[in-house]
Symmetry: C2
Subunit: 389 residues, 2 copies
């Protein structure tokens, strides 16, 4: 019996358009094939979001073929048939004998496909930073006549600029993020265990908002006193206490697209120190947003923030954010000093102003934003306050 294609978040035409942009880049680099292994790039080019990238898998884009070919473990092929726009003839499941086998693995199936497709002596792009040394050597050894070109982040640079439909989906994700912050506001209370609050917040991320369920989302970070100087602890076994500060980072997700948001909570009145950094950061956030428009650079946005908070006696060591979309952090443009990437309409960023000032003190605020034709749209909408509970 067969499985059929499920509901699709994007029309086929949108994927064909994305592939056309990829093929333009391939032509520019004189490549006949591009092997794409980043899970987020695979989502972008096919719609696949299943969690199978702990074994070898990837998409081969051929310049001469309309649809790419997705090569993955045979037991995951039905998920590809269900989730992606690809014709089932474009989905190749490699046999289980290649799993956990030290001699031949799924990358051999990919190389077999390249050889059988007559691509063994052509220009071929790979995302070299995603490949282990052994895998890179396997490509070189088994494709000795191919001209192998590093195309790390080539697809990621293309997906930096979103389509209107992608923006719509990120708005849905952002509404879920806002709902989760609101839920956090309801459940963070003295005497409540962090785990119980997280259960409720994650519940909202799954249930979604406005009738749109969440899809698989990234881990929550909830760093409360005495851990507000840390940024990546998911949550602890502690109970919230009077006077605790809580730094929360989360993001709703739809079809793999994320919309990050950070807010700082205070149980009881915030300390003067917390108020001062909050006031500086909100002023910096507003200054940064005012610079966002086509033609500004990532560096401009970051420096607007840095200059504003420095006037108030603060500094931030880490960057001010990054390109944001599928899979959270996109490995391309950074909102930091010196990143001269020019903003264009429908780029999206996590304007991430978390500031870990001292070992035992940090403050977080962030928004997911879109560059518009004339300025900025802030996709997340929770109040820009220290949320006092």
């Amino acid at each position: 019996m067969t499985i059929h294609r499920g509901a699709q978040a994007f029309p086929r035409a949108e994927y064909i358009g994305r592939l056309a942009a990829v093929k333009d880049e391939m032509a520019r680099r004189d490549l006949d094939a591009l092997f794409v292994t980043s899970a987020s790039d695979i989502t972008y080019l096919s719609g696949y979001t299943a969690l199978s990238d702990y074994v070898p898998q990837g998409i081969v884009v051929q310049i001469a073929e309309e649809e790419p070919t997705f090569i993955l473990r045979r037991s995951d092929a039905p998920a590809a048939i269900y989730e992606t726009f690809l014709d089932r003839s474009r989905i190749i499941g490699y046999p289980e004998a290649l799993v956990g086998n030290p001699d031949r693995n799924g990358y051999d199936a990919v190389i077999d496909f390249l050889l059988e497709s007559g691509l063994g002596s052509r220009g071929m792009g790979v995302e070299i930073s995603n490949l282990s040394v052994q895998t890179a050597e396997k490509f070189k050894d088994r494709l000795p006549k191919a001209r192998i070109v590093d195309c790390t982040n080539a697809v990621a640079w293309i997906r930096l600029v979103k389509s209107d439909r992608e923006i719509e989906i990120m708005r849905e994700a952002a509404a879920i993020s806002d709902a989760a912050i609101l839920r956090a506001t309801e459940v963070i209370r003295p005497g409540v265990r962090e785990a119980d609050a997280v259960a409720e917040i994650m519940g909202t991320l799954a249930r979604g908002a406005n009738g749109k369920p969440g899809t698989m989302f990234k881990p929550i970070c909830l760093c409360s006193s005495p851990r507000t100087g840390t940024s990546h602890i998911p949550w602890s076994e502690d109970v919230f206490r009077d006077g605790s500060q809580i730094n929360l980072e989360l993001g709703g997700a739809r079809y793999g697209y994320c919309a990050g948001i950070m807010r700082t909570f205070s149980i009881g009145a915030p300390s003067d120190r917390l108020r001062r950094i909050h006031d500086a950061e909100v002023a910096g956030l507003e200054a940064a947003l005012e610079t966002v428009r086509p033609g500004s650079t990532c560096s401009d946005v970051a420096n607007a923030f840095y200059r504003t908070i420095e006037k108030q006696g603060f500094r931030k060591e880490t960057r001010c954010g990054y390109a944001h979309g599928i899979g959270w952090l996109e490995p391309t443009a950074s909102l930091k000093d010196g990143d001269m990437t020019e903003l264009t309409a429908n780029m999206t960023f996590h304007l991430m102003l978390g500031n870990w000032i001292d070992e035992d003190f940090g403050y977080v605020i962030s928004e997911t934003i879109r560059v518009t034709k004339t300025g900025v749209e802030v996709l997340t909408n929770a109040p820009r306050q220290i949320i006092q509970v």
Copy 2:
């Protein structure tokens, strides 16, 4: 102001014992230093579970030093001080200038440390499979006199055998897994959205069981009709329907240690086909469990399962499980034909009997198990039934 060490899941002596085993292996390979980058290996050697491994980080074990050195991004260093048993002098935060910098990154900080520690011309182990081509070349280029040895999975083989305290923690995680299956039994109903059921199930994974909260857990897979032939779709936007089958995989977690479980649900009476595969698989599961004891091999366990279900007219293409503990799948022993790893007491496995038989039909059952001195302890305890709701 400083952050102090938080509550620890393991006593210092336990980490020192783990390190002693690692140093024995290093001595066997004539290595003065070992650079450990796998997030799960880092957890094993230090207790660190924060989610920062998207930037370079790693632990350097030196054969001549009692404690290893953890080198990570400066903004993550407070989390290492809080979470790990390490003295703060053993935690080195590298500056933000090394993040998102194409020329120098966190691995340069590691190499600087190795050079400053006089290890530049010694035997040095690295987990080569975890390093990109560029990073491996950086090590070769900047440490031309070192004898670099691939130690991929060297620490993972050591952590295959758990301590009694690790087993205790996995029992706590397994109790959370059982509670989550019970919660699923309560909330999977016709007319309910998958996302709403997932919200409740995840809620239980966070809240935990027996007064022990869950810590960050791995994504749930919930593959319901018509997706039961798939294994890695987290959940969909669908509503459960009368007659639906639901394949659920989840795992409670404590301090990074997972305890996976899979169960198959049926809304209304299961089909004959589902009953037949269930009966065969439970018989196969029992046969597999009967072979588990010190001296049996992984291959023996798998073949006991395969032989039993084959007698009933079924076969399973994928392996029957894998070493299981920190971070879910341990990349060492597999319960599959031909894996001659000999079982010893306190090895733990996810006996994973998910069977994706047809594009549109699969069945799942699994248990987390421990090898005892005389046989097996099944850590997960949910009823071995098709759970009819």
